[in-house]
């Protein structure tokens, strides 16, 4: 029943996107953190809002579950996918990557003690925890003997807090936001990052014509300082390094 109602709502959104209001651009995301949230006050929400505003469109961010998000956009039910690493178009052939990156995501190890780490192999024998569905983390730790997969960052950092993990692997920026929410101030991230990936906006191929315009808008935001200001405003409350 819930599934049917969800599908019906989604169809309404798509139909209204296609036929109702041509100025609105529906972007799917599976985030619920400082990058994007239902209030659309996340960092990427604001960046997309500004970028699409500059090309004369209105960006509407829609929450979709992790696995379903890419599938729905690939099927053309939604117009774009908010934030993914490069190369997604190989599997999801209807997607087109906007060449100008949204941000660079640093995947780091959080810990309560200062382990000396240097890449994936240095944490092989530690008790590690990752959130299920994070592909880059799952792939790089697939054969690690002491790996625990948890449903969300809540369980991930709670386990670390209770000394049930040595390290918790997560995105640096959203990780600190979560820690702040959970008041776990004894946890910090280890340097260097295990991986850093540029993250890109993907649009359905029917919007291919918009790709250069969106890329140009993002670039111009970086050049005129708008981008930096949005990032600073969003990250400031959680950035312990500063």
């Amino acid at each position: 029943m819930k599934k049917t109602v969800g599908l019906f709502l989604m169809l309404l959104i798509v139909l209204s996107a296609v036929y109702g209001n041509e100025n609105k651009f529906y972007i799917s995301t599976s985030y619920k953190n400082l990058l994007s949230n239902p209030e659309q006050r996340g960092m990427l929400d604001r960046i997309m809002d500004e970028a699409f505003h500059r090309i004369g469109l209105e960006a509407k961010i829609v929450f979709t579950r992790t696995e379903k998000s890419l599938v729905d956009v690939n099927a053309g039910l939604l117009d774009g996918e908010l934030n993914r690493i490069a190369g997604m178009e190989a599997e999801y052939t209807n997607l087109v990557q906007v060449p100008e990156p949204n941000m660079t995501m640093h995947f780091v190890a959080f810990a309560k003690q200062d382990f000396q780490i240097d890449g994936w192999e240095s944490i092989r024998n530690l008790y590690i925890g990752i959130v299920k569905g994070w592909k880059i983390l799952e792939q790089n730790t697939a054969d690690f003997p002491r790996r625990t997969l948890v449903p969300s960052e809540i369980e991930l950092f709670t386990m670390l807090h209770k000394d049930r993990l040595d390290v918790a692997l997560y995105s640096k920026l959203t990780g600190y936001a979560a820690l702040e929410e959970m008041n776990y101030d004894e946890i910090f991230h280890l340097e260097p990052p295990l991986a850093s990936r540029k993250m890109y906006l993907y649009v359905h191929k029917r919007h291919s014509a918009l790709v250069p315009e969106i890329a140009e808008a993002l670039k111009s935001m970086k050049e005129d300082g708008t981008y930096e200001k949005i990032v600073s405003d969003s990250v400031m409350p959680y950035n312990r390094e500063e």
Binding site: Y127, T148, V150, P151, I154, E155, T158, M159, K162, R164
Partner: protein
Amino acid sequence: MSIATRYTLYTFLLMLLLSAVFAPIISVASYREEYKRVSAQIEQIHHSHIPSLVSSLWMTHYELLQLQIESMVQFPYIDRVEIVDDEGRLYAVNYNDKQIPELEGMREYHHTLTYEYRGEEIEVGSLCLYVNTERLQRDVLQDQTPLLLYTLFAAIMLAVAVSLLFHMMVGRHLRHFAEFLRSSSDSASLSVSFSFERDRKHGDELEELAAAVNSMRLKLRGQFEEKEMLLREVHHRIKNNMSSVQALLRMQAELIDNSEALVALEDAASRLQSMMVLYDKLYRQGTVESMSAAEYLPALIAEILSVFPGGEKVRLHSEIDDIIFDAQELSSLGIMTNELVTNSLKHGFLDQKEGHISVVLRRQSEQQLEFIYRDNGVGIPESAISGKAEGLGFMLIRSMVDQFGGTLELSGESGTMVRVLFYH
């Protein structure tokens, strides 16, 4: 109460007794079986659920933990599940609007949940399962109710079936057999064989019984015939002896001059005559133990009238019902009749050309008989009626009436009237 009815009653009582004994045993066994099943479920929970519960607690995945708790209360009779994590937080079934089951009457199963980490068993929480044993008992008892009702029904049906079968196979044949034995108890019918009215021969106990009884009846008949023959012989000899005694008495009477002695000897001979008639009748008929009064009394009176002087002047009227008496009773009845007839002949018709004697013996009611003797002679003197002065004859009559347990009524008006009421 017939055997079939008692069979029904006893079978029913036996089944009730068996039910009363076995129902609790079956209930206890069912309860144990059910409890074993519940224990197996708990064992299953230990094996299948606890590892995942531990995993959820270890990962602090409380949403999953809640789902696991909800799934555990789906097991029958596990009404409450409580998990306390390592920080003392309680996780239990979300009953929403439902009433939370009371702990009273529940059996608790505690389990400490540990996770092996770095070679150590770390306690991550504890599990408590509450099994509703009261409901389990109640359900088992409820399950037994149809069985009890069925047993009761089966008891009734079995009892009725046993009764019917017994009646069909045994009871009615035995009743028929008893009727046959009752209706053929005289010596003449002892030679008639009995056989059960059944479609075919079974060679069973009933037929063995019939064969045994038939054989016994044949033997009895032989013994009866032998006994009858012996008795007839004895009676014949008695009669002959009486005849000899009577002849001696009459010879003696002819030789004496004393009138009183003469009368006494003639009376004695007359009384012997009444007994001789009886023994003669008994000897001549088939049986010697009993006889109808209708056969004996008229013959006796006719015999007395034929030998007594003046007897030919008397006209006899008799109404004697066909009532069977044994030989002893008939003998007494005969002596009484003899006394009355000889008394009429000696004293009643002295001046009369013709006398009338009426003898009646009839059944007045189911148990009471009436004997009435009348003549049209001079009647009984008042002294004899009052009993102040009576001869041996009336003394004998009174003695016979006492012997029968009867009442005697005498009247001397318009001839003699003697009425005796007695039970027979």
